[in-house]
């Protein structure tokens, strides 16, 4: 009589069948914060190789515009708008225009595959790149604002507000740039969209709003950079309305959250074609 319990036989059968096909353990995945830090650090290092000349271009462009406008504008609120607009233009140039080009190119030639085949949260890639591009704008924006204050005789007292204006308008514009770059079907189109976004920021942000026709004022309200410009412009006054500044910065932050979410979604979509 056999004394082998039935279960033992069944288990032995199972093991024999399952052994060659057993699933391998999954490798580690990168968590959000370390992945974001790694992407940010890598992107920041690219500045040393490729971005520094472009940063000079961005700064010179803004300083040039302020010198031009000095002949047209004679102090007061218009001067505030010109200096604030030129400073935020540096952010638009780098975060919106260059990031749109970068992602457009990466998507166009298959460079995204590298990130897409790594176990990284999509948001880490998008936020890391966006944060790096926003960081690229810091020196240029500060230089532009300080030079502008010198040119138009504005006080430097409240320039510390740049510490909030740069990251928040940077988030809004970089999110927009990343979304445009990742959604554009072709890299040339991404470049075009980035350029147009920057031109819009230039025309609608630097030129004083009071002189614009009505429909352009609406367009101006739709552009996220406007709120960064307004926030900065308000602080040049003798008695800034801090509530309004906070509100403007809040709009920047909200647009930043939405546009970065859209960019993350666009990244997912672009990575798995």
């Amino acid at each position: 009589m056999s004394a082998v319990p039935l279960e033992a036989v069944v288990r032995a059968e199972d093991e024999r069948v399952a052994a060659p096909d057993v699933a391998a353990p999954l490798g580690a995945r990168a968590r959000m914060v370390p992945a974001l830090t790694a992407v940010y650090r890598a992107q920041l290092s690219r500045a040393r190789v490729a971005r520094i000349p472009l940063l000079f271009v961005a700064t010179f462009q803004s300083v040039g515009i302020m010198i031009l406008m000095r002949g047209v504008v004679d102090g007061g609120s218009e001067a505030h708008a010109v200096v604030a607009g030129s400073s935020v233009l540096v952010v638009a140039f780098v975060a919106l225009n260059l990031l749109a080009q970068y992602f457009g190119q990466l998507r166009g030639d298959g460079g995204l595959d590298h990130y897409a085949t790594l176990p990284v949260p999509p948001a880490a890639v998008v936020l890391g790149a966006a944060a790096a591009y926003a960081s690229f704008t810091v020196p240029g924006t500060i230089v532009t604002a300080v030079v502008g204050c010198g040119l138009f005789g504005l006080p430097l007292t409240h320039l510390w507000v740049l510490a909030a204006v740069i990251p928040l308008s940077g988030a809004a514009l970089a999110g927009l740039g990343a979304a445009l770059g990742l959604l554009a079907p072709r890299p040339e189109l991404a470049t075009l969209l980035g350029q147009m976004g920057m031109s819009a920021a230039l025309l609608l942000g630097v030129l004083p709003a009071e002189r614009m026709p009505g429909f352009l004022q609406y367009a101006r309200d739709l552009l996220p950079s406007t709120y960064g410009v307004e926030a900065l412009a308000r602080t040049f006054g003798s008695d800034p309305d801090w509530g309004a500044v906070l509100l403007d910065l809040g709009v920047c932050a909200a647009v930043g959250v939405v546009s970065l979410a859209v960019a993350t979604w666009a990244y997912r979509r672009a990575a798995v074609r």
Binding site: V22, A23, G27, A35, A38, L112, D113, T117, L118, P119
Partner: protein, 322 residues
Amino acid sequence: MVRDLVKVYPAARGRRGRPATPEVRASDGIGIEVGRGEIFGLLGPNGAGKSTLVRQLTGLMRPDSGSVEVLGHDIVRHPERAARLLAYLGQESTALDELTVSLAVETTARLRGLDAAAARAQRDDVLDELGITALAGRPLRKLSGGQRRLACFATALVGERRLLVLDEPTTGMDPVARRAVWGAVDRRRAERGTTVLLVTHNVIEAETVLDRVAVLDHGKVIACDTPTGLKEKVAGEVRVELVWRDRAPVDVPEVAALRSSAVESGRRWTLRLAPEEARAAVAAVTGGVAFAALDDFTLATPSLEDVYLALGGRGGDGLVKA
């Protein structure tokens, strides 16, 4: 690993001035099984569907039907698992081009979930193993093609995945670099049972490094065997290459008779013949008038390239022999 895979690129509507592109069946019922620890090759001409197949294996693309199983995981249902099971070396390095070799490898290690110390340690080990420590501080785009490729290969090694999917890893590399690559692959296979899926154009490399190879054409597997096994399919044949000094002496009847079965490219004729025919052909061209016009000739046993041509793949425009 792959069963009945089908991926159809839909027909694109033509735009003004451009003809409509017809539907392309890039994967037409592909079925491949790769054993663990195997070095498996995908061989085929441009446009054969190799990259499409690889994109589906790596979770970058969803098949229209069929299943993909990687190391026991269903990749069609869980494409996000692919990144935790395999390391993929694509043909493009644009994501890394502006980074230094050291940072590119370290960042990739971090993004495979290693902590900072482990990432740095593996970076140093891998760069040392491949002999590119001296290049560590240089940006990838400043390197030569082969060096850049080697640096990208280094990024595929960190994080120790059990499956390496390598798309033409040795393009542009010198023999030293190639040896470093295959040495690193062999070590991983011996120590950890790493499986390697290799996409290649390089027939000589395929013959020497692969355990098994699948030949793809028009989205179908037209053959799948060991390199030796494949070569046996045309074992009855000998490849004869004739190089004429100036032009072929077609007025010699024997030479004229050979012409019908020769593939001509400039002064070079390539023929695949049965051994007796080959002997007769060599006798004909090495004696008499024809010999005066002959610059060089070789007789060889068939290579994988001959196999590929014999299998009815698209001749001529196909594989590039390195």
